[in-house]
């Protein structure tokens, strides 16, 4: 294998026929498409952020739940892609990245300078695909600090494309990006590979697709009606060897490590120190989301802005043309009015909460903590039928179950998504509820607090283990690349928080509105009262609570905090508080959560889970009640 092959004569390839699936990127054929590609955690997003200033267009890749960000830079459309370790069709993110890459005119390959051994594999694959590439070698600040020496000139020679050393954290100059885009070109492929690709070309239309078919990509093969080859392992091993060869000539690494980051990493991983660390993190999260925002900020936004200013104002407007007692007025601006309550809830309660916990999540993500947490809990979560990564949506659930249900998409298998969603809907109280629950429990004394925690944990474990036992299959084995521990950058965290908040509000708002409408109508038509009456015998005899509690439960269907708050006003003994809280926590999540769950998991599964929560809530609540009261 020669290190510096002559770039042989370039024969123009018959490339680029278009598929309908790729219409997503087709909107304007004359605008060149630049795509950022790289492994996870290489700083792609930060770089994209630098390019995009404020204009970012976020949309779902058709047929998937993956969001793609696009911006305009210098007359080019620039797309960000999900971080991938290789181009193929192993999971949804890879499929989306693959299609975007296939249709890209120019690929900016962002590579982590501190992880060349890993990252160059993707680089070489992109070159094998025949794409026009420029390599952006990122984290050069860390490379310098760690004493790593990279011969970028030699690397560029080996690869056949330009290599720019950058540090996205310190800032990248526009000239660098402009040059990177301008100089992008096809790199070096092995002669043998090149001729094989050529021969396949006529069947599939582009080098990139030819390579994928050779590697065994069934999806791409299917698009062209050809059979996929099975040379993936052979090609991969060859590529690996090629990369290793390059590295030997280009990389000098004395393996100096930061003692601090190594030790901190160990502390976070090993349960002995990791569990206390988690407790600290959760407590900090609670202080931020649960106290600062859920209580103080929301106290202001909901109380002063929402109920104090918005609601009276809008009522003032409607009263000028609507009779206050008319059904329309009640529906719109009554106590549960669609315009009053829903807006207050969405804008003044939910929005600050959602911003706060996405903020916390983004910080945790960017720091590199979450994969270590997932590793630490993987073994335990396995008993629940879950991969360690499921810990993330589960923790998010304490912020907002609706948003966590959306996040559960990232789990690898349908089975895990079902189990995680079920646990979320059954047993996890959201922050809207938690403030009230915490206050009520604290008032009830230590005994109820302990019993509550024990009961909830038992249910959580019970749901998980039962489902794990009942459902076929096993959780996906944990194979996680741990990113180095890094200090999150303000800009990236802010951007992530913003984008996710917008996405969440877009997805969930409609459902809250629908729910409020239903409850408003139900209240006016007396159905609500009827439902309360139907539940009463169950509530008074089985749960041993006052009859008004049943109304609180029904209210909890629209807004979980309403349900909990309704209990405040009732005179309840400490044990009754315990029973009521256990029931209401296990009881159905809010209407938005139900709708999102049905969207994510399908109607049948969603309905089963929902029905399950009714049964569990009253069953467990009743048992607790019969035992302690």
């Amino acid at each position: 294998m020669s290190g510096s092959e002559n770039l042989h004569e370039r024969v123009p390839h018959l490339e680029k026929h278009r598929h309908r699936e790729l219409d997503f990127l087709q909107r304007n054929l004359s605008i060149p498409k630049v795509v950022l590609v790289g492994n996870p955690n290489v700083g792609k997003s930060l770089l994209f952020n630098t390019l995009s200033d404020f204009y970012v267009d976020v949309s779902n890749f058709p047929g998937t739940t993956i969001q793609i960000q696009k911006t305009r830079y210098n007359g080019h459309d620039v797309f960000d892609t999900p971080g991938i370790y290789g181009v193929s069709s192993f999971n949804e993110e890879e499929c989306v990245a693959r299609d975007i890459i296939l249709d890209a005119d120019i690929v900016l390959n962002v590579v982590d300078g501190t992880h060349l051994e890993r990252d160059l594999f993707l680089t070489q694959q992109l070159l094998d695909m025949g794409k026009k590439v420029t390599v952006l070698l990122n984290f050069m600040d860390e490379v310098k600090k760690l004493g790593i020496k990279i011969d970028t000139v030699r690397l560029a020679n080996f690869l056949g494309v330009d290599v720019f050393a950058i540090s996205a954290v310190e800032g990248v100059e526009r000239e660098t990006i402009d040059a990177a885009i301008r100089l992008a070109r096809e790199g070096v492929q092995r002669k043998e590979l090149h001729s094989v690709l050529h021969s396949k070309l006529t069947m599939v239309g582009s080098q990139a697709e030819a390579l994928l078919v050779l590697e065994g990509d069934e999806v791409i093969a299917g698009r062209h009606g050809v059979r996929a080859d099975d040379r993936r392992e052979e090609l991969y091993v060859d590529r690996r060897n090629r990369v290793n060869y390059m590295l030997n000539h280009v990389l000098e690494d004395s393996q100096e490590r930061s003692w601090f980051s190594d030790t901190l990493g160990r502390w976070l991983l090993q349960p002995l120190t990791g569990i206390p660390a988690l407790a600290v993190v959760l407590y900090a999260g609670y202080l931020l989301v649960g106290k600062l925002v859920a209580q103080d900020v929301v106290g202001f936004t909901e109380g002063v802005l929402g109920k104090g200013m918005w609601e009276p104002w809008i009522r003032g407007i409607t009263s000028s043309f609507l009779d206050e007692s008319s059904w329309l007025s009640v529906l719109l601006v009554g106590e549960f009015g669609v315009v009053t309550m829903t807006t207050t809830y969405l804008m003044f309660l939910l929005l600050p909460l959602v911003i706060a916990f996405y903020l916390a999540l983004s910080v945790l993500e960017d720091s590199g903590y979450l994969p270590r947490l997932a590793t630490m809990v993987d073994h335990v979560l396995g008993f629940l039928g879950l991969n360690g990564r499921a810990v993330i949506p589960l923790i998010l659930g304490f912020g907002c179950v609706t948003s966590a249900t959306i996040t559960a998409r990232v789990l690898g298998s349908e089975r895990e998504r079902t189990i995680a969603t079920a646990i979320l809907q059954f047993a996890i109280p959201c922050s809207a509820q938690m403030a009230v629950i915490a206050a009520l429990l604290a008032g009830a004394g230590l005994g109820p607090v302990l019993i509550y925690t024990v009961v909830m944990t038992t249910v959580l474990v019970g749901v998980g283990t039962t489902l794990n036992f009942m459902m076929k299959g096993r959780p996906e084995p944990l194979l996680l690349d741990l990113p180095p521990l890094r200090l999150p950058t303000v800009r990236n965290v802010a951007r992530k928080t913003w984008i996710r908040t917008i996405q969440f509000m877009k997805e969930a708002s409609g459902w809250f509105l629908a729910g409020a409408l239903v409850v408003g109508i139900a209240q006016m038509t007396g159905i609500l009262r009827l439902a309360g009456k139907v539940l009463q015998p169950l509530t008074t005899r089985w749960l041993q609570l006052p009859p008004e509690a049943s109304t609180a439960f029904i209210m909890g269907i629209v807004r979980r905090d309403f349900g909990a708050a309704g209990l405040y006003e009732m005179a309840l003994s400490p044990m009754q508080v315990l029973v009521a809280l256990v029931t209401i926590t296990l009881f159905v999540p809010c209407i938005a959560s139900l709708m999102v769950m049905m969207k994510e998991r399908g109607f049948k599964e969603g309905l089963m889970i929902w029905a399950g929560t009714w049964v569990t809530a009253f069953l467990v609540g009743g048992i607790v009640s019969q035992v302690v009261i």
Partner: protein, 83 residues
Amino acid sequence: MAMTTVSLIIPLHKSRRGQQFTIHALPAGHVRILFLRLGISEGESAICAERLPGGTIVLKKKRQRIAVGYKLAKEILVRLEAA
């Protein structure tokens, strides 16, 4: 007198922190491809960076750290290098 080298081959989940080894056998199929992408293939050397109670292992290869769940670690064979 001929010297015999004895190499100890163990499943990954039994390795201890600090032990150096070469990858002896990866399970067939999809997993092998995932490892290849990350730079781990049969014959490559790595170190056990962490062993969590229960057998979850963190491999260290150059600067990379790769967490391997214990179920997977059970199926990977490594050859320990003599200390």
